[in-house]
Symmetry: C2
Subunit: 494 residues, 2 copies
């Protein structure tokens, strides 16, 4: 009856403290994912268990993003997990992009299957097959559908949340009568992703178009949101694709238009995944651990009662006040956690909730009660101050809103301070090496983009919709004319 195995090797566990970010950002990330109990390694290489604290974050992301989808007329549905291998072959660039990463079911029910089935890496193909059946007339359009599901991409180098063989996401799939409508949808959805990241996640993003080399396999164009992590690297946090007629032609999705002519539909797809949790960790965290954006935080406030175990009178006074505060804050819709574990000291609790990034901590002890106050500690500023009990409860929602604003401002300032606009290749290299996002004019030439990546490790993240104009400038690498109306943002990326 001894445990069969220790923790897997890949999981760091040296000592109690977190690796400082400046020492090794990557080690800090691994440390905090496991220490804050967001996830654990699964038994199969590249797989992950999302633990309750991480999953609660995902539930808040899901719920609020889903509300935004529904408010813009989308409905949820569910497509099958397994897709016939032959479906992938119908769209040439799609199969080229995805075939190296497919997981394949060859046997089921004790028999070899006639055709191998692929675990969806994304669902455009099976969606295309069904839309071809469902769409007959312009009256069936637009189809505005979304699904929340798991997908699988067999990656070699995996990291929790950022890149795992299986991940959770939503994938929207829409079909439209015209290119204009489909383009408007593509834009609307990248706008929703950007708004969600900023307004719910307190994480500012650059919103723009991917260069052709970075497009989704099968797309005519890809819009993206790109966030800066605390090490200056970029994280692609959501993408929205306009497919043109590519999938409609591959899957024969046609409709009779108002003039009774048969035409191909224009499709879009857009996805947002558990990767965003990695973005929240690396976009906000510090050497003490996570800092949760209040609107998505599993616990917005942690309330720690303080008393000596031997002092029954103090204990009952404190717990009575704690119960009252708990009930009142819950009544206001605040997600509050009372940490009344008797076996842990207040100090241990403070450390744990700091590491887990709970925005606000309330402490109530007998001395506080005598003075009619509670102590309110702010995870971001690290400050602690006494707040009168009389108006404490009403204060909290405003404190949470202020916390969100401060967290957003901190991320925005950090990003602004680490974003440069350059005109020469030397400047480009220097800033990339220093961990910056770099605006640079680029000719759009695929070979040049590849050379820049191989030489500097920086990739073209996007051409931001509202970035500086490229007018009057030339490519920092080739000296040719700009390939885009605006400058491209380059950065090292996750």
């Amino acid at each position: 009856m001894t445990k069969q195995s220790a923790k897997p090797a890949a999981k760091p566990s040296k000592g109690r403290g977190l690796t400082p970010q400046a020492e090794d950002f990557s080690a800090w990330y691994n440390d905090i994912v496991y220490r804050a109990d967001l996830a654990d390694l699964g038994p199969v290489r590249g797989s992950m268990v999302i633990k309750p604290y991480g999953y609660a974050l995902w539930e808040h992301i899901q719920r609020n993003l889903d509300d935004m989808f529904k408010a813009t007329g989308h409905e949820n549905l569910y497509f099958p997990l397994l897709i016939p291998m032959s479906f992938f072959e119908r769209e040439a660039s799609h199969v080229e992009g995805f075939s190296p990463e497919l997981a394949v079911v060859t046997h089921a029910g004790g028999k070899e299957l006639e055709e191998p089935l692929v675990i969806r890496p994304t669902s455009e193909t099976i969606v295309g097959e069904m839309y071809s059946k469902w769409i007959q007339s312009y009256r069936d359009l637009p189809l505005l559908y979304n699904q929340w599901c798991n997908v699988m991409r067999w990656e070699l180098r995996t990291r929790p949340f950022l890149r795992t063989t299986e991940f959770l996401w939503q994938e929207g799939h829409t079909a439209h009568a015209t290119a204009d409508e489909a383009l408007a949808e593509t834009t609307q959805m990248v706008d929703i992703y950007a708004d969600f990241s900023e307004q719910w996640g307190a994480l500012p993003v650059f919103k723009g178009e991917k260069t052709p080399g970075e497009r989704f396999a099968g797309a005519k164009l890809t819009y993206t949101i790109e966030a800066m992590m605390r090490d200056g690297k970029a994280l692609q946090a959501g993408t929205s694709h306009y497919m043109g007629e590519n999938f409609a032609r591959a899957f024969d999705i046609t409709f009779n238009d108002v003039n009774n002519n048969q035409a191909y539909v224009h499709t879009t797809s857009w996805g947002f995944s558990t990767r965003f949790i990695g973005g929240l960790i690396m976009g906000h965290g510090d050497d003490k651990g996570l800092i949760m954006p209040p609107l998505l935080a599993p616990h917005q406030v942690v309330l720690v009662p303080i008393y000596r175990a031997t002092d029954d009178e103090a204990r009952s006074r404190v717990l009575a006040e704690v119960d009252k505060l708990h009930a009142e804050l819950k009544g206001l819709g605040v997600r509050i956690k009372v940490d009344d574990r008797p076996e842990l000291s207040p100090g241990r609790k403070f450390n744990e909730w700091e590491q887990k990034g709970v925005p606000l901590r309330l402490e109530v002890g007998p001395n506080d009660l005598d003075e009619g106050v509670a102590q309110l500690a702010d995870r971001l500023s690290g400050e602690k101050r006494a707040v009168k009990l009389a108006n404490l409860v009403q204060t909290i929602p405003a404190e949470l809103a202020a916390f969100h604003d401060a967290l957003y401002a901190r991320a925005k300032t950090f990003r602004d301070e680490h974003t440069a606009d350059v005109s020469t290749l030397d400047e480009f290299k220097e800033r990339i090496d220093a961990g910056y996002f770099v605006y640079a004019t680029h000719c759009g030439d695929a070979d040049s983009e590849k050379w820049l990546q191989e030489t500097t490790k920086a990739t073209a993240r996007c051409v931001p919709f509202d970035g500086p104009s490229a007018e009057g400038t030339v490519c920092i690498h080739t000296g040719k004319a700009s390939g885009y109306p605006r400058k491209v943002i380059f950065a090292k990326a996750y």
Copy 2:
């Protein structure tokens, strides 16, 4: 540019009407699933696409059941889809039960895998592996976790919602220090399923224990809820299992108890799936189509404006009132759908929403406005009456509550009228043939249970917790003493 394929063969599409239930219940079921747009067949045999109208029902089921789990202290998390084949072999009866139905990934990332990976048919094994790592001390217990996910069981005979190779469900997995605690959890969860079915789905259930032959593979005991469909057959709608130490021993899940002795945990699991949608369809539907339970209905009220296309004045008066009613009812939290499709006649709309089972229909036309009323039609009673506009909005929530009660009462009455308590094998056969649920004393002998099934097609559904006592009676088949304190319910089942 012609469509590649017609609808798959299995999908009925003869004429416009539904097959009457009395003529062929099974054909009625297939008809309504597709006509009401709940689901479509997927491209792979045995797979299904859950369409928006069906998925919206699932979302309401999920949201409300999840609230009940959380209110009883459970947290959600997410385990990986793929499980090493070897895990299944650690619990003998578990592998025996599931191995014929497994779908197996043998290749991934372009290579053959060293060990085949199984798409989870259920997650006890991977949960066991992780719990063995997570649980060290009695302080870690109980673990009260649940996940919402897809699972796969390669069944040969499939039917939408009732039995598909892939389905959606939740699976709760808990670990406890003692058998008593685990048994209390097992009971609590079957109680929650029963309450949910009755209080949200308006579907009465028998709650009881499965006979040993019908237990979950690997369980010490299985509790179940069994609902009666409108053809008198039973549908198992949710199960809760007490595993004893079976999985703890197979996966070495041990803990140090309060006295610092190492002991095995006691585990439970409990599941509720998209199968329940099949139960709602067959438990409430009639020859006109679905009847949705109001608390889970995607649309609780449909509002149909009525006017002549040529009468602009009437149209604008009617639409103004419709907008007002829509906004007010939405404000009260009523899920209301306005059907203002100009291309369809009111009659077509009425038929469509009747078929889709929307509980209440409101009609507003110019004559109604002149009289200060709207017409309120009830899907269950089929009655329509004029309701004063002045107090219409306030009336609706009460109407919905009354609809729920009437729907529940109808199902309960039907079940009571089709449940018999028998003492002889002849009576047993007669009632089973007539489509009844039959209470009968049984010796508990596995061979006898099998003989009854082969001879009469009836299976032991459960020993209901509050069924008639078996005291003083003998087995209807063997004449031996009862194997259970109470009579067993037998029925033909889905």
